[in-house]
């Protein structure tokens, strides 16, 4: 006899829709499906961080994949697991993504052992982005501490590639010691762009360091800010937000013109696993980019 309660094949529903496209959020998608991607280049940045160039193998998927500065991807290393990584490359680079990854856990250690040609999976892009469109015609402060330069690099590319859209541009970066400076081979190219002020500071200099010494907030003292026409993007460890955003508040920049990127544990990237949940807020879908007002309203955020 025929079954009274009929089988409902959920796959039929997804087959009617477009192939995987995380940019299109409507409809039922195979949420666990990854884009297969190849590591095409590995660049050593410091002892702890490497920059990976990854290229989505399927031509149509690669063509369709797009992201905004500040968004992240879930990087799958089959057999090891999946980690959220912010995208460090330019949004105009269609060929491959750049992912700056610190060696810190099971998955990232496996990635650091991976050779050129290894195949990983990507899901995403996920999360909110830095609203650079809104910042057009204004001055912009790009401030990073430590590994915070990784998520800041996408907006830096955007601003330097579209220099004419902004008034004053300041890039301020600080780390503990000179050997922790990321992307040090790029500072000169940013500095040479007409009218980009880039300042690097370290807390504990070594013998060869001849730049400024101290905390990142000290760089802010020398920056002239037109508080009514300036936006700030701040990336770094949570403790830095308080000091940097506090200093910027003193200079008169409204809290909703300062943007930060938060870090949380994430297992899905889609607002389901709750690991990044703080009350009503999911760092993966409502963030990782928040304005400072939202952050101070978010209990336990920093």
């Amino acid at each position: 006899m025929c079954a009274l309660i009929h089988a409902y094949d959920v796959r039929r529903e997804s087959a009617m829709l477009q192939p995987v496209d995380f940019n299109d959020r409507a409809g039922l998608k195979p949420v666990a499906k990854v884009f297969k991607a190849e590591i095409t280049n590995v660049i050593r940045l410091t002892e702890m961080e490497k920059l990976f160039h990854v290229r989505i193998l399927d031509d149509a998927d690669r063509e369709r994949f797009s992201f905004l500065p500040g968004q992240f991807v879930m990087v799958e290393v089959p057999g090891y697991g999946e980690v959220p990584i912010s995208i460090s490359s330019s949004t105009s680079n269609k060929g491959y993504l750049e992912l700056c990854i610190r060696k810190t856990g099971t998955v990232t250690n496996a990635l650091h052992r991976a050779q050129r040609g290894a195949r990983v999976g990507l899901r995403g892009p996920f999360g909110t982005h830095f609203p650079l469109q809104r910042m057009k015609g204004q001055s912009i402060l790009l401030i990073a501490g430590g590994l915070g330069l990784a998520p800041l690099r996408a907006p830096i590319y955007y601003v330097t590639e579209n220099r004419a859209e902004f008034k004053d541009v300041h890039i301020l970066y600080g780390t503990k010691s000179p050997d922790q400076l990321l992307f040090d081979y790029q500072y000169e190219s940013w500095r040479r762009i007409d009218d980009v002020n880039i300042q690097i500071i370290v807390e504990k200099p070594n013998g060869s360091w001849d730049g400024p010494v101290g905390l990142i907030t000290e760089l802010l003292d020398d920056v002239e800010v037109d508080a009514n026409a300036t936006y700030a993007i701040v990336c770094g460890p949570p403790v830095m937000f308080k000091f940097v955003c506090g200093r910027l508040s003193q200079k008169g920049i409204p809290m909703d013109r300062m943007f930060v990127s938060l870090e949380r544990r994430m297992h899905c990237g889609q607002g389901k696993c709750c690991r990044c949940n703080v009350g009503a807020t999911y760092t993966c879908t409502d963030g990782p980019v928040f304005d400072y007002w939202s952050v101070i309203n978010l209990k336990e955020a920093i």
């Binding site: 309660i5 959920v10 949420v31 499906k33 057999g79 999946e82 980690v83 703080v278 009503a280």
Partner: protein, 346 residues
């Protein structure tokens, strides 16, 4: 909503008709506790007799049939230096019989999270759409507070919902497939006498709620009492075991891990339900833990239930079944914690 009257003998025939072609999950007596009371659990049944619809409660909710404690998200097959990902969903249909109103409302809340949010879950939707839900009214247990949470009445999220009128059931029909199934046996139209009997049962159920908790302005109160001593008082007792989340019909948070087969040919990506009370819930790479203290983790559990979920979905996540209160080894129960929050002097 359509209503019909179903004789108890015909209900039995109905269950037997379903059993001929589908699996049925129902409350089943599995043991007796120290005080001689039966312990029930939602399990597959082989015959009508195995089902015990007079059950008081189940220690575990039925959520495992929608959100399994362990579920395979995908597998990776390794070959040479490459891999292929394979994804499958559970599509075998089955029926669940005997869910209480608050347990069905728990499914309705899970529906909001997994079917009506930004990234609908095909894993959940497949299980949900393939499950035929038959609900059943009950006299509340003394510690249940579903009436305070507004989950004692159910209007959707099921196929059939039964109210026991002694020798017959008053049946609410909420789906086309429920209507069709009911027509396989003899049913009759509702008469005034039935409606009156139904109203009488509903009145008795309402009177049965002995625990009522004040939830007026609770979301704002939680913000105000963020640093309250109430959290250290209850947090001190908490064993961070996560039992509350395991038995909760709406707790859905999870962790994902991968298991490689012994021959290194496949890796399975497994989603396992988690608990926000477990120590490493919010620990991130590099060793920082956003919630190192058990009282903070306990607080965030209440925060999500009664504050965050309300902001996202306009209603609390808690359905008031008090399974968490009963299972807690440290004697923490939501009615007492929330009462303390109201009594805390500002």
């Amino acid at each position: 909503m359509l209503f019909k009257i179903l004789g108890k003998q015909n209900f039995r025939s109905l269950v037997e008709i379903i059993l001929q072609s589908n699996e049925i999950i129902a409350p089943k007596k599995i043991a007796t506790n120290a005080s001689g009371e039966p312990i029930h659990q939602f399990l597959p049944i082989g015959s009508f007799e195995e089902m015990d619809l007079d059950y008081r409660t189940t220690e575990f909710s039925a959520k495992t049939y929608f959100l399994p404690y362990r579920e395979t998200l995908c597998t990776f097959q390794f070959a040479d230096a490459d891999w292929e990902q394979e994804i499958s969903y559970r599509i075998q249909p089955r029926a669940i019989i005997g869910l209480r109103a608050h347990d069905i409302n728990a499914l309705v809340k899970l529906d909001m999270v997994f079917t009506r949010s930004r990234f609908p879950s095909p894993y959940y939707i497949s299980r949900r759409k393939n499950t035929f839900v038959v609900g059943l009214d009950h006299t509340p247990l003394p510690d249940e507070f579903s009436q305070s949470m507004g989950t004692d009445i159910v209007t959707h999220g099921f196929d059939l919902f039964l109210t026991d009128l002694g020798d017959r059931y008053f049946v609410a029909i909420a789906s086309d497939r429920g209507f069709n199934l009911l027509n396989r046996v003899e049913v009759r139209e509702v008469e005034d006498e039935d409606t009156n009997a139904y109203k009488e049962v509903r009145r008795r159920i309402l009177e049965g709620f002995k625990t009522r908790i004040d939830v007026h302005n609770l979301p704002n109160l939680l913000d105000l009492e963020f640093t309250s001593q109430v959290w250290s008082k209850w947090g001190e007792k908490c064993l961070s075991c996560g039992s509350c989340a395991m038995v909760c019909p709406t707790c859905y948070c999870y962790g994902v891990s991968e298991e490689v087969s012994m021959d290194f040919r496949t890796s399975t990506k497994i989603k396992q339900l988690y608990s926000c009370n477990l120590l490493d819930f919010a620990a991130v790479a590099g060793g920082h833990n956003f919630r190192p203290d058990k009282e903070t983790r306990l607080k965030y559990r209440y925060y999500h239930q009664h504050r965050g979920f309300v902001e996202n979905y306009d209603e609390p996540k808690c359905v008031g079944c008090n399974r968490c209160g009963r299972v807690c080894l440290a004697g923490i129960n939501p009615a007492a914690v929330i009462k303390d929050l109201y009594e805390e002097d500002l």
